[in-house]
């Protein structure tokens, strides 16, 4: 329709070409965004399943070598996620990672949560930023994408919730009371360490509130352990043994 006016403007065919180009660019962008959203959902699902698996294995574990083994199984399962990130690396090349960060974050944080849980079960330590980044690198050590500090911190912040569940459900097992005291110290450390990052990362404040609640629950567990045994002048392990004998009669 506009053809008759071609002289007074850049010709309509050049407009056509220009917008044809934009159209392809936008379509490609939307398609990539969609693919990343779907991949992120898959990653979230695998990570969640890994967390449940780790809980199961950890509860069955009777000693630290069983825990280390549980950790290994969990880490193995997470290789699936690492492979997915490897296959996505071309979508996230160069400056593209930051373009789609909002789509990637949910899955990535869930992955970091699962990874840090497996890592904790291995040696009771907190996985570092560098260690997380290292799991997201190709064979030659090149990162699939730059790990953002906020994804790292928000991911490991969720770990405290899982540790709370771990402490509560392990309470009745032999050694569970000692484990609860250990986790209590660990989570208290996390809470304190994360505090100074909250001015930089807005969502971390909300997660710190959740961590505070988890910590209070873990402290209650530890408190119960101490108060119930303090009537008796015997070491924890001996009390555990007495109870265990009764229960297994």
């Amino acid at each position: 329709k506009a053809k008759s006016h071609a002289p007074v403007m850049s010709s309509s065919s050049s407009i056509h070409d220009t917008f044809q180009h934009f159209r392809e660019e936008l379509d490609e962008h939307h398609d990539r965004r969609e693919r990343l959203i779907k991949a992120s959902r898959d990653i979230t699902n695998i990570s969640k399943k890994t967390i449940f698996l780790l809980h199961r294995l950890a509860l069955e574990a009777n000693d630290s070598s069983a825990l280390i083994n549980a950790s290994k199984i969990g880490l193995d399962k997470l290789v699936q996620v690492q492979e997915m990130y490897a296959s996505l690396k071309n979508e996230l090349v160069g400056d593209q990672f930051w373009r789609y960060q909002r789509q990637i974050s949910p899955g990535l944080q869930e992955y970091i949560e699962a990874l840090s849980f497996a890592h904790f079960l291995n040696d009771g330590s907190l996985i570092t930023y560098e260690q997380v980044q290292a799991t997201l690198c190709g064979v030659e050590g090149e990162a699939y994408f730059p790990l953002s500090i906020s994804d790292y911190l928000l991911g490991i912040s969720d770990l405290t919730g899982e540790l709370m569940r771990f402490a509560i459900s392990g309470f009745g097992s032999p050694g569970g009371r000692a484990k609860a005291l250990e986790i209590c110290t660990f989570v208290r450390g996390c809470k304190a360490d994360f505090e100074r990052f909250t001015p930089y990362i807005w969502e971390l404040q909300k997660k710190q509130n959740v961590t505070a609640q988890s910590l209070a629950k873990i402290e209650d567990v530890a408190y119960t352990a101490v108060i119930r045994t303090s009537e008796f002048d015997l070491p924890l392990e001996m009390l555990d043994d007495i109870v265990n004998q009764v229960v297994s009669n």
């Binding site: 399943k49 509560i168 459900s169 009745g172 119930r228 004998q245 229960v247």
Partner: protein, 219 residues
């Protein structure tokens, strides 16, 4: 929209809203029944072990009478529309499942199966596209039972019964292992599974108290 389409749609919608009304009536009845049953069951906390079987006996009639409701629902719900309407009665149903599960545990010491629950509530297999017990509802019912058992462990001690807590402990531990096998989402079931962990912890405290005082042998 032509007149015919308008009327057809209107008629279909009227029919649906009618159906909803009639389901609601049944659910109200269902609700009354389960409220009465729960009221009676709440007496287990002040009933000595020995008198519990006869207490449980008194809820058998109202519990089985839930079959009237499930039958009425099965005749109301159109084929294949189970998932469309189930939310309307799932709270009442979960209460009934809880009551059935608790009854069986308190009399036989065993875990009720989904199939067994269906039988007690008169739910027939051939209704499965209209009225059935979903895995989720069954699991909710079991967790409610555990919530109650953790209170019972405490109250049994008050009544001088130190065996009950040990039995409960073993039973709940077994159930917990079962629940741990499930992969849950961040939904109600997951939140309630967390509550089960608390109950287990509470029960363990009681077992601990009893064991360290050697009370289990004292009765």
């Amino acid at each position: 929209m032509d007149q015919q389409s308008l009327e057809n749609l209107n008629q279909m919608l009227d029919h649906e809203s009618d159906l909803r009304e009639r389901i609601r009536e049944q659910v109200n009845e269902f609700d009354k029944k389960t409220r009465t049953i729960s009221g009676i069951l709440s007496k287990i906390h002040s009933t000595p072990s020995v008198a519990i079987p006869s207490l449980i006996e008194t809820i058998q009639a109202p519990l089985h009478s839930c079959g009237e409701i499930t039958a009425a629902l099965a005749s109301l719900i159109p084929p294949n529309q189970f998932w469309r309407w189930k939310d309307m009665w799932c709270n009442s149903l979960r209460s009934a499942i809880f009551a059935a599960a608790l009854s069986l545990y308190l009399t036989k010491g065993t875990l009720i199966s989904l199939q067994g629950t269906s039988e007690i509530l008169g739910i027939q297999d051939e209704w499965k596209d209209r009225v059935a017990i979903s895995a989720e509802d069954y699991l909710h019912g079991l967790i409610t039972m555990v919530n109650e058992l953790s209170r019972l462990a405490v109250n049994a001690v008050i009544l001088g019964d130190f065996e009950q807590p040990l039995r409960i402990s073993a039973f709940v531990k077994g159930l917990f292992v079962g629940f741990s096998m499930l992969n849950l989402k961040n939904d109600t079931l997951r939140r309630r599974f967390d509550s089960l962990k608390y109950d287990m912890k509470k029960i363990e405290e009681v077992v601990y108290d009893i064991s360290l005082r050697n009370l289990q042998t004292k009765h």
